[in-house]
């Protein structure tokens, strides 16, 4: 009996010691195993104070899918960012907590590692870390008090451990860092077009026609027909433009009298009125409806806008204004004036940007539904 008690006491001491050590030890910064990113996507930089680690990714993934982040514990980031829809929600505008709808359509999340210096449709955040906390605290999005959230996370042994392993303490800053890391790791590089670039797939004749149109600015002087897409969507494989305000444009949706502020709301510069973020086109076929306000339901609608529906305003992109495949046919309208076959070719090309492996990657899925 005495031996049993001694053994139990020793075991108790060991457990207590381990728990004490586990509470006080430093984070375990494990670099992401086997990390590799496509060279052709270009240079990227991770903030030195928030390196990519396995622990930060695991924590960020849990937080992303956990409704604990919202005030009513019913809304998670994933509510409006659904993996199967390339982390959009299929709605023109997401519903707000107050029963209405939000100002903007939920943005697709993919390849955020590359470049961007401005986030949201109107560029109101200057880093992923800054961006991460804004929806949480927005009264119409997740309606959470940040101090209350910290208390809830601190009360969870699982989260205490995950924070400790990733960063140390449970803090708003570390919450933002973890969410940013999860989003940075949402790398999509297995679309048909990616495989084409690597020599692993061929485009059909229609897709190849669309690729060439996508890449070309029309020039009637040399009989070059083009869809003019690349002029704004040069970073279409990733999400970003390295230079702070590059990648924002007025693409001719509204006249001056109803033109929303867009980027001007952030910069105060009237020249930025009506400017919105040029989004990634990766997985564009699954992210309908389109534009910052989700006004177009299909890619055909989008192409119809660019083909013959451009609305002229003071800040309209000059690259859009003067891109015309048939200026002689102009009858008071502005647009590309491509043929139906050319439009379908561009749409076929856009479908090659769908990355099914990304949309179903278990690493990016809800960890509370059996994912690891």
């Amino acid at each position: 009996m005495r031996w049993v008690l001694l053994i139990l006491a020793a075991a108790g001491l060991a457990v207590a010691g381990w728990m004490n050590w586990d509470r006080t030890r430093h984070p375990v910064a494990t670099p992401i195993a086997d990390f590799s990113a496509p060279f052709v996507f270009g240079r990227f930089a991770v903030p030195p104070e928030n390196p990519l680690t396995e622990e930060a990714f695991a924590l960020g993934r849990h937080l992303f899918y956990d409704p604990i982040l919202s005030g009513n514990n019913q809304v998670s980031c994933a509510t409006c960012h659904v993996q199967a829809l390339a982390f959009t929600d299929g709605r023109a505008k997401s519903p707000s907590l107050s029963g209405g709808e939000l100002d903007f359509s939920a943005m697709s999340l993919a390849n955020l590692l590359w470049g961007q210096e401005r986030f949201f449709w109107d560029g109101r955040a200057t880093s992923l870390e800054e961006q991460a906390l804004i929806p949480i605290q927005h009264p119409d999005e997740m309606g959470q008090d940040i101090d209350a959230l910290m208390a809830e996370l601190e009360a969870s042994g699982t989260y205490r451990r995950m924070f400790r392993q990733a960063y140390g303490a449970v803090t708003p800053e570390n919450t933002a860092k973890a969410l940013a890391t999860f989003m940075r790791m949402l790398i999509s590089s297995e679309s048909k077009y990616d495989k084409y670039l690597r020599g692993e797939a061929r485009l059909t004749a229609q897709e190849e026609h669309g690729r060439k149109l996508f890449m070309a600015h029309p020039d009637t002087k040399v009989s070059l027909r083009g869809g003019n897409c690349i002029d704004c969507h040069s970073q279409f494989l990733t999400s970003g433009f390295r230079d702070a305000l590059d990648g924002f444009s007025n693409n001719g949706l509204d006249p001056d009298d109803t033109l929303p502020d867009g980027l001007m709301a952030v910069t105060g510069n009237p020249a930025h009125k009506g400017f919105f973020k040029v989004p990634t086109l990766r997985n564009i076929a699954v992210t309908a409806p389109y534009m910052h306000d989700g006004r177009f339901e299909t890619l055909e609608d989008v192409m119809a806008h660019y083909n013959d529906g451009i609305v002229v305003s003071d800040t309209l992109s000059p690259l859009i204004l003067e891109a015309d495949n048939a200026p002689e046919a102009a009858k008071g309208t502005v647009g590309l004036r491509m043929t139906p076959e050319e439009i379908q070719a561009i749409i076929a090309f856009l479908h090659t940007l769908t990355d099914e492996a990304f949309l179903t990657n278990p690493k990016f899925s809800d960890p509370f539904e059996g994912g690891s």
């Binding site: 375990v28 670099p31 590799s36 060279f39």
Partner: protein, 432 residues
């Protein structure tokens, strides 16, 4: 427990190093980083390698190798790097085991570029890869590669036509002089390659052993049929008493500049000349070849490469080691656009980029054949023309030609330099 803490320390340290340092490295400007092929020197016990090197004189890391993959198993090195239109990186090779390769590039968790390896491609026996270009035949894009040795023999040489997606051989264009009959078009020791519309031109340079034979002609290939259709002799002076050995070639064409009248420009390695062959696109006929630059008259020798920016054409002359510059719009005539850029003996490949402060720069690889030095009793030395192995990359202000910095690859890394290319894709607008 001590072991665990020790392990933790290692993990944390490694993590901090990887996570803390790599992002800093990744923020280096890649525009000024070069891809180089380095040749191991037998007497210095070094291996061939592919490497990324910093070339901005304003960087504290100037001349530093940032990433490197060695090829200790290869007797002869990879030879010449090219980016495909889709950004895939290829290299020709001198070793029969790897005459053509695709080089892998990726990025680590800090964003830094990494050479991830290379795959040797099946060339169906074609050896000693030299130049690559991508061109269309009947509306389909292919990768064309010149193989100096072809499938072997004293008068070998071939142009390999590869599927641009799968890298599989589609056709081997061969026409041995000894087999085609008197006066019929042949391909022999092809090296330089260029194309315009449906006409491709390759040079006839020298047998890979540098002694069996030397060429003196260009071969025109019909891109519709992928067959040679004409030879054009480009030989006049023989300062070395060798055949002229045309080496690099550029089909000057209107898509380089609308003012350009189409014509072939060819440099003769042993004739020291630049030749012009006018082309009439409407009749698809070539005019009379003429010398438009004489190395003998201008005291230069071994003209090699053509590289073009948006407004200038640059031609390297291995001796005395200069790069001459010309007005691109005036092509095919060579109208000087400024004084020579004085590099080092062996002036050869070049790239164009900007410094961190925005200065326009040119970096020049100063090595021909890139072999060892006889002074080192290096068995790879072939001293048929003395002093062409400076083993340097010199970096100059593009506007003034002023030399800003030099890295001596042999002194610093015990290797020769085989080729220089930009990391971010072609550091030039026109090459072939």
């Amino acid at each position: 427990m001590k072991l665990n803490q020790f392990t933790q320390s290692i993990l944390i340290g490694t993590g901090l190093i990887l996570a803390g340092l790599s992002p800093a490295l990744s923020q280096d400007r890649e525009e000024s980083q070069g891809m180089v092929l380095l040749r191991g020197l037998p007497t210095l016990d070094t291996s061939h390698s592919i490497a990324i090197i910093e070339l901005d004189p304003e960087s504290e890391r100037f001349g530093e190798i940032l990433s490197e993959v060695e090829q200790p198993e290869m007797v002869h090195p990879l030879h010449h790097l090219y980016y495909s239109p889709n950004g895939r990186l290829y290299s020709t090779g001198l070793d029969p085991s790897c005459s053509l390769a695709e080089v892998g590039l990726s990025r680590d968790a800090g964003g830094a570029p990494v050479i991830s390896g290379f795959d040797c491609l099946d060339t169906q026996g074609q050896m000693v890869g030299e130049d690559i270009m991508w061109a269309n035949s009947n509306g389909q894009e292919y990768m064309f590669v010149t193989f100096l040795g072809g499938t072997g023999g004293d008068d070998g040489g071939s142009v390999g036509v590869f599927d641009a997606q799968t890298n599989e051989v589609v056709k081997v264009i061969e026409a041995r002089k000894s087999q085609v009959g008197e006066g019929a078009p042949y391909i022999m020791y092809p090296h330089g390659i260029s194309a315009f519309d449906d006409r491709m031109v390759v040079t006839s340079t020298v047998h890979p052993d540098l002694s069996t034979g030397v060429g003196n002609a260009l071969t025109i290939i019909d891109l519709n049929t992928l067959e040679p259709i004409e030879n054009i002799t480009v030989e006049k002076e023989k300062p070395l008493n060798f055949p002229s050995s045309p080496v690099e070639v550029l089909f000057a064409r209107p898509d380089m500049h609308p003012d350009i009248e189409p014509a072939i420009l060819a440099n003769t390695m042993f004739g020291f000349e630049t030749w012009k062959v006018p082309y009439d696109a409407s009749s698809k006929t070539f005019g009379e070849a003429e010398v438009i630059y004489s190395g003998v008259a201008n005291e230069t020798a071994v003209p090699l490469e053509f590289y073009g920016t948006e407004d200038e054409l640059f031609i390297s002359h291995a001796l005395p080691g200069v790069v001459k510059r010309y007005d691109l719009a005036a092509l095919p005539e060579l109208v000087s656009s400024g004084p020579d850029i004085v590099a080092d003996p062996g002036a050869h490949h070049m790239i164009f980029f900007t410094s961190a402060s925005g200065r326009d720069l040119i970096a020049i690889q100063n090595n021909l054949l890139n072999l060892g030095n006889s002074a080192d009793n290096d068995p790879t030395d072939v001293d048929f023309i003395a002093g062409l192995n400076s083993h340097t990359i010199s970096v100059h202000d593009l506007e003034t030609g002023e030399r800003l910095a030099t890295v001596n690859i042999k002194d610093r890394y015990n290797k020769g330099i085989e080729n220089l290319e930009g990391l971010f894709g072609s550091g030039f607008v026109h090459h072939h």
